[in-house]
Amino acid sequence: MLQDNWPLVLLGLRIGVAAALYLFLLIAIRALRAEVRARTMPYAVALPTYGVATPSASAPTALVEVVPLDAPARVGDHLEVLEYTGEGGEPGRLAGRSYALRGPALIGRNVGSTIVLPERQVSSRHARVFPDRGAWWVEDLGSTNGTYIGSRRVSGRERLDPSTEVRFGPVVARLVRDTAKNGAR
């Protein structure tokens, strides 16, 4: 029976190998993409498959586990620049601008920063704002003119509340929380 249809068996084998290769590639590339996405997704980190495996977990372990942070850190949050005085006493150019916060943000004069504040008194890498434990935090990165919450100079990391004003050098800003939607994504 098998011998009679031998060419058919071989053809099946050949198609099977090709199909298996592409099925594998499809699944693997999707999984890889999902993981990279999860890692760069706002408020979420992917739990790695390659943490130290627990004996209780059966092998093979789950491939990708996306773990979004719970509220209240939300997609719609943004950093709004308030009135401030620019160089030579003129009104600052950035006043009224609003920057969406989509994850850890580097603030500075550098073009590579997440939020670019092109003012001379802002250091090239001034501070960073990042989500953790459901809240936003600010950390000064050794800037020349300092980062202030209210009138207090920030040293180390400090929690950022919507009510307080935060100042990067001359630029005064305020965290605005998104109240419309709940949850990430």
Partner: protein, 912 residues
Amino acid sequence: MTALPGSFEGGSFAASTIATVRRPRRYTVVLWLLPALVLVAAPMSVVLTTRTAPPNDLERAVLLAALLPLVTPLLMRAMRRTWDPLLLSPVWMLCAMGLAVIARVQPTRLNVQVLWITLGWALFIVLVGFPPLLSWMRRFRTLWLGLAILAVLSTLFLADDVNGSGTRIWLRVGPLTIQPGEVLRIALIAFIATYLSERGHLLTAARTNLGRIGRLDIPSRVYWLPLLGMVALSLLAVAAQRDFGPAILFVAAFLGMLYIATGRRDAIALAFVGFVVLAPLAYTASAHVHTRITAWIDPWADARGVGYQSLQAIGGFVFGGVIGSGPGYGFPGVIPAAHTDYPLAVIGEEWGLVGSLAVVLLYGLFVARGLTRAQFSDSRFEQYLGAGLALSVGVQIIVVSAGVLRMLPLTGVTSPFVSYGGSSMLMAWVILALMSRTGETPSARFTPEAGDAVRRTQHIAYALLAGFVAIAAGLGYWQVARPDLANDPRVGGERLNLEAVRVERGRLLDRNGTVLADTVLSPAGALRRYTDPSAVHALGFTSPRFGTSGAEAAVSDTLMGRTTTTPADTWRDLLHVPRAGTDVRLTLDNRLQRTAAAAMGNSIGAAVAIDPRTGDILALISNPTFNPSFGEEEWTRLLNDPKSPLLNRVTQGLYTPGSTFKTVTLAAAVEAGLVKPEDAATCPKEVVIDGSKVTSNNEPPGKQTKTAADAYAYSCNTYFAQLGVRVGEAKLRAMSQALGLTEAPPFALPTSTGRLSTDQKFLSSNAGLAASAYGQGQLQISPLELGLATAAIANGGVVPRPRLFLNDPPGAWRSAMSPETARLVTQMMVRGTTDGWAATAAIPGINVAAKTGSAEVAPGESSDALFIAFAPAEKPTIAVVVVKERGGAGSTQAGPVARAIIDAWIKMNPVR
């Protein structure tokens, strides 16, 4: 909401409330099982196709290999290491395809390759399970690197030239041969990663003791000298071996890691410039490199020598096409050293673009996975080490694939996991072990510094992606866009030869079924026999070395049974039902062909007989002929012979038509209503047109031109010179075009295009017009074109489409003149044989229509003798053109040949 599964170090989110989204686990199972299946199926599909004996050790060995991917996750779990299917499974798939290659080209070494894979895997398991692996790599970096450099240098004294290629890069250790260059790569990358993770920030020159050269920031030399020194030392070591493949990988890994760590593009640009400057040194330093570059630039130039390997590999891709020949059915054996240097070409041939693209994608996945693991690692050292290893593997794959695809010169690096080979296989598994150990604890904290490294790793990934896309494009080019190369003897010749033994090439038959060419198969190969040497230009030849020509080329696919017209054919092909060559019937008549050949004798020239009703080529003679079963020496002689025996003079020879062209002028004049046969005419001895003199002393003895018909029959130049001016450029051109004299006729064999003048404005002057009108001037017309024009007059003004194969439907090519014009011209042509110069073709009882031509081609030499004729005039069944180069007068030299052909044909096919 579920609890966070497992613990993981450094996770700052462990304390927060977390919602877990789980991906379905079944995918993981698929990624676990598929590699094992493919590991059995891919080599088995080759083994089962090519084997002649019942199951043997080979097959048991393969089955054993399939157990490895199944137990790997279990073993790793036992060692408390995490199994990453995205990194490991592509490797198994690649090993499977490598086994399929070796099963095909080196079947006896299949179990050896399985052994190498098992050893590599064992090494992997040991290294992965060795807890301080990475910290030892770090701590003893200089020791490793020093030992590796010493090992490389020792090859200068102790090396074995394993494959006789001239590069002495192997060390023999007991039964193993090892390439220290492979070890050096890993040691060097570990060294660079350590250095950059400890002192990389100093190289950014932000706050360090720096100098400036122009716009370049130069950090203090104490920071960069050790790093650069070690890289340079490693490069020198491999350069001393005259092995530049690894050097490329070193440089790429070094620059990539430097970029990720410091983001200094200026340093990379500088290094790139240095590379470009130094690369020519390698070219001059080593004859080996020199040969490879010569073979790369133009492998066709020395197709049997240095270019051979590359061209045979390209042939593999071309023959494979999209779906491939099927495992076991290709001819990868013709590629020298395919199992080490060209596995991709073997996969491309047997598995098609489907398979070769899958291999490239698998490599891409592997490299991408390595990079993401490195990217998100929480330790700088691991970030750099992982990225450096992934990058060097990626560059290695791009370089070797580009070499196989002739996009770059061949560099002599192997394809990891696929190539046959000991040390490269082992070192690939070591790299895999190191990559598995990087990124085990990914960073949870997103610091700006880490963000920079992540972004720069992304840039590296994009650069590699571009390389992989280029490779995929290269595969597409050879496998899809260049099917024409299959018939290039230098590319596809060897395979065609092998295929010819597998398939009995169909016979070529004449219109009555007489065999013109057949094939005798013997174990030594296929021998093609030709029965009629005079038909060589119509039949052509088929040679694995020198290609195919003539009818052999035109219907090659049919003769080889390669025409898949129905789905059933395709299905049979897929099942590898042996194909049978199909016989092809030509329009030639063997008896007429032999008559024509005898009539032409040894005269250099051409003769063609056409059935004016159907366009059938009944006989085709081009002298001198040649022996179609020529060998190497004779081929060279044929190519250099000043008489051009290989040229098909009927279809591709261009001749001055001489007085035969008066027929065209006459047809144009009759069509325009300027001339009737009975119109009064004279033939002056001399006329001057536009200041140029035309003479005529053509009248046969005792004859005098009284009518237009006389002028044509007696071939009066002065009359036709004047007639040409009366007809005018536009009408003469129009008639020539209508007869197809200025176009390449649509034909199965290559045809030349005739022309009225070489100089665009030649016909605009009356002098040029006059000279052309009687067949001189700058006219250049092929015998086939002339024959079709003659056939058109015979066929009531319709030019038939010439055909060589009886299976092609007969048809009209174009309409040239009204039937009335054709009738009048025929009438005058008949006059030529009854009362004119063409009388040499007269046949008693038959009305033959004909015109002579004696074309002056070189002053002081004999003219070319031409003759056009058809018969019987009332209901023509044959039209003939005869050309004898330097033959003399058309009437006496070419006329009798035409007569013999027509006579034979009419005797064979009596007029009913």
